[in-house]
């Protein structure tokens, strides 16, 4: 239930609760427990109000929603006797309230199953379904056959049943007795379930006790009342035993509400703490964390810690970049003669030299860990840089080849066309028709040659890539691709050449690996601060050359659902 229905039902439930409270307090109908004594009045209003309130709050929280709803329903149905006993009230309202009196044991059983986390089990689902159906059937039949006039055990609502069709006193009495017996059984079941789960909770005793034991208490009250109804009907609030049963149920409901509220508050606190911890874990890496901790401990916000990188034989900062020269007094922390870290204090006045020197021994292990991490980061960025160099070298090679083709072979062929035309003109001048035709044929071949050279060059390295025109390059690729390419771009803006080159060759190489039976390949390019490229369908991981290109620029490659996603920063 989300949105409007949830808000609506919350408001309705709250409204009913308020009306019931008003009814109980103002009318104090004589045919209810509330009328007999003040403390019973309190025990009618407070537990039910608490159950509805806590239930409504819980029903808005995802995991506890079901518990909340059940608690609200339990509170409202246990309040319904007040409506039943309202002598001056509208008969329809009283009759409807009469319909609800059979529900509390079943609701309690459901609630107990939810609390013990067994409501999903097959037997539980079946049992609940049967119980709800039985209660529904019972309510229906009772509504149409019970005539309060003829019920000698009636004490509360003895006048009106709006739904009455045909009075069958014997059946009505049997139904009432049947309900009492069933209530006893269900109540006993709830008590057993609660106690058993509590015993098995082990170290989780206290938390379990909050909600389970009150469940059992309510169940005991219900069982007691049911037993009394069977043994010594009619119900008489003056009798101590009946009062005791009622009080037990009410007290149990109150404890259940407070227990649920406390448990819920505890869970929320834990969730918040977990979220905070997750966030701080995410933000912090060991190296920066040590620096921050030391800065706080020594009360010097400008404190800097650099770590020794063995291979570089130099200090690097927490993120692995080469460290700048220290400004201010610094102390080098060494372990067994090997430097580990260098702590630089920006404010010599606040951190005396001997304190700074003492940092070493105090933080040795943390510093060593942080050093390893900083070292790893430095290594990774070095690796990335070397990959970038390899990729760039390969691209340079291709560009050189393309340029050689263009400047060399293509230009020569163009020059050849000039010569051929000169030849043709000369032949035409002397009227040599046959020769002209021969030359025309040669010109055709040479034109084809030019096109072929152009295709080769463009396949090596599209000339427009050097200027960052990715869209134009991809359009040419689409022209020549054997598999139809469906190209969509958000902007024709020029990109930094490195980005355009990486994106182009990613598409080209992925296309190259696409089986020729593919009907069409969709390529989408989104140009912004980040270039987003998506190619589908792609069934195989593109392979090291694409990874190297993208990785060299610090971008990401992802293959999900037959679609390849590449992101490259255009900054």
């Amino acid at each position: 239930m989300t949105g409007w229905p949830r808000a609506g039902s919350t408001v309705a439930a709250a409204g009913f609760a308020v009306m019931s409270a008003a009814l109980t307090l103002s009318i104090r109908a004589p045919t209810t427990y509330a009328a007999t004594a003040d403390w019973l009045l309190l025990l009618t209003v407070v537990p039910c109000a608490a159950a509805v309130a806590v239930g409504l709050v819980l029903s808005w929280d995802g995991p506890s929603a079901q518990l909340g709803r059940l608690l609200t329903c339990l509170g409202l149905t246990m309040w319904s006797p007040v409506w039943v006993g309202w002598e001056a009230g509208p008969p329809l309202a009283r009759s409807i309230a009469m319909l609800l009196v059979g529900l509390p044991p079943v609701l309690l059983a459901h609630l107990c199953l939810v609390v013990t986390r067994r409501s999903h089990e097959a037997w539980a689902v079946r049992a609940l379904r049967h119980l709800y159906l039985a209660v529904a059937a019972w309510t229906l039949v009772r509504a149409v056959v019970r005539d309060p006039w003829h019920d000698r055990d009636c004490w509360s609502n003895c006048s009106d049943n709006v739904f009455l069709i045909a009075p069958v006193p014997g059946l009505a009495r049997a139904l009432d007795t049947g309900w009492a017996v069933a209530a006893m059984l269900v109540g006993a079941g709830v008590v057993m379930l609660a106690v058993d789960t509590f015993r098995r909770a082990g170290p989780g005793h206290a938390h379990a006790a909050l909600v389970l034991l009150p469940c059992a208490l309510v169940a005991v009250g219900i069982v007691g009342r049911a037993a009394l109804l069977v043994a010594a009907a009619p119900e008489a609030p003056e009798l101590l035993l009946y009062r005791a049963a009622f009080a037990t149920s009410a007290a149990g409901l109150l404890l259940l509400s407070t227990g649920a509220a406390v448990a819920y508050a505890r869970v929320r606190r834990q969730r918040a703490a977990l979220a905070r911890m997750a966030e701080s874990l995410r933000d912090e890496d060991a190296a920066s964390g040590v620096q921050r901790t030391l800065a706080v401990a020594l009360r010097d916000p400008g404190l800097r810690v650099d770590y020794w990188h063995d291979r570089h034989a130099a200090f690097v900062d927490p993120l692995g970049r080469p460290a700048a020269e220290p400004i201010g007094p610094s102390t080098v922390v060494a372990v067994h003669g090997t430097p580990v870290a260098r702590v630089t204090s920006r404010a010599p006045r606040t951190v005396p030299a001997d304190v700074l020197a003492g940092v070493g021994s105090a933080a040795a292990v943390a510093l060593e860990n942080a050093r390893l991490e900083a070292g790893l980061r430095a290594d990774i960025s070095e690796l990335r840089a070397s990959r970038a160099r390899v990729v760039a070298a390969a691209d340079q090679q291709r560009r050189r080849l393309e340029r050689d083709l263009h400047d060399g072979a293509q230009q020569l062929v163009v020059a050849l066309t000039f010569e051929l035309r000169q030849l043709r003109a000369a032949a035409a001048a002397v009227g040599h028709e046959g020769f002209c035709q021969v030359v025309d044929q040669q010109l055709e071949i040479v034109t084809d040659l030019l096109e072929e050279l152009r295709r080769l060059a463009s396949g090596l390295f599209p000339p427009v890539l050097g200027e960052g025109r990715l869209c134009a390059a991809l359009e040419s690729l689409a022209d020549q691709s054997p598999v139809p390419l469906d190209l969509r771009t958000t902007s024709r803006r020029r990109l930094p050449p490195a980005v355009a080159i990486a994106a182009y060759f990613t598409v080209a190489e992925t296309l190259g690996a696409t089986p020729s039976a593919t009907e069409r390949v969709a390529v989408a390019v989104d140009v912004g601060d980040v270039l987003r490229l998506s190619i589908s369908p792609v069934n195989r991981w593109p392979g090291p050359s694409v990874e190297d290109r993208v990785g060299a620029l610090g971008g990401t490659v992802r293959l999900t659902d037959g679609r390849l996603f590449v992101e490259l920063s255009c900054a």
Binding site: H406, V414, F418, R421, R454, A472, D479
Partner: protein, 214 residues
């Protein structure tokens, strides 16, 4: 007509100059890079500058940049840009803003004196010239889309010739129809494609090219 030729490959440069001289066109300078080109144009004030796109120092698109500058700074000098590449984006970049007196030809065709001289004359008169191969490539790409299907065969031919920079007279001569019919076809084409017809021949070239490029 006075022409400057800027092309960094010796053989091709000499080939072009020879063709022009044989057509009685005055080649006032033969250059190899974009820097000297701009100086010489300022000095000599030719009618047309023939410029190769790829030239020293970077061998990317210096020629294109230089051509645009020439059009801006010396409006009386037309430019004919030569390229070995069928690259529609070069054409649209070149024509953007100043399509008049600008042309883009593939090197495949310039050995034919008829083609070269015709293109020179057209740009010298302030028209626009776009190599038919480029227009054909764009048409091939565009075929996959919807809008072209709404045009008749004749209208498609007219659109292609408009994209090549031809004037109404040139189109009527090529397709053997009257100029009035040409105007009617162009109006119909632009209307069907949702383009705004421009009063000048040159602007509509850009409109057509941009539309075809998608």
């Amino acid at each position: 007509m006075r022409v400057i030729v800027a092309e960094d490959t010796l053989l091709v440069r000499e080939g072009i100059s020879r063709v022009l001289r044989q057509a009685s066109i005055d080649v006032v300078a033969e250059l190899q890079d974009a820097g000297t080109l701009l100086r010489e144009v300022a000095l000599q004030q030719p009618d047309v500058a023939i410029v190769d796109i790829r030239m020293p120092p970077t061998h990317t698109d210096e020629g294109l940049v230089a051509a645009r500058r020439i059009r801006l700074e010396h409006p009386a000098t037309a430019v004919l840009v030569l390229s070995a590449f069928v690259e529609a984006s070069y054409a649209t970049d070149l024509l953007e803003g100043h399509p008049e007196g600008t042309g883009y030809l593939l090197k495949d065709r310039i050995s034919d004196p008829a083609v070269l001289v015709d293109a020179l004359l057209r740009v010298a008169e302030g028209e626009t010239v776009v190599d038919p191969t480029i227009v054909a490539t764009l048409f091939r790409r565009r075929r996959q889309g919807e809008p072209l299907a709404a045009l008749t065969e004749r209208e498609r031919s007219v659109l292609g010739l408009v994209a090549e920079g031809m004037s109404n007279r040139g189109i009527s001569a090529r397709l053997q129809i009257t100029e009035r019919t040409v105007e009617a076809h162009i109006a119909a084409v632009f209307d069907k494609l949702g383009l705004t017809t421009s009063p000048t021949t040159n602007r509509r070239v850009l409109a057509a090219l941009t539309f075809l490029r998608g």
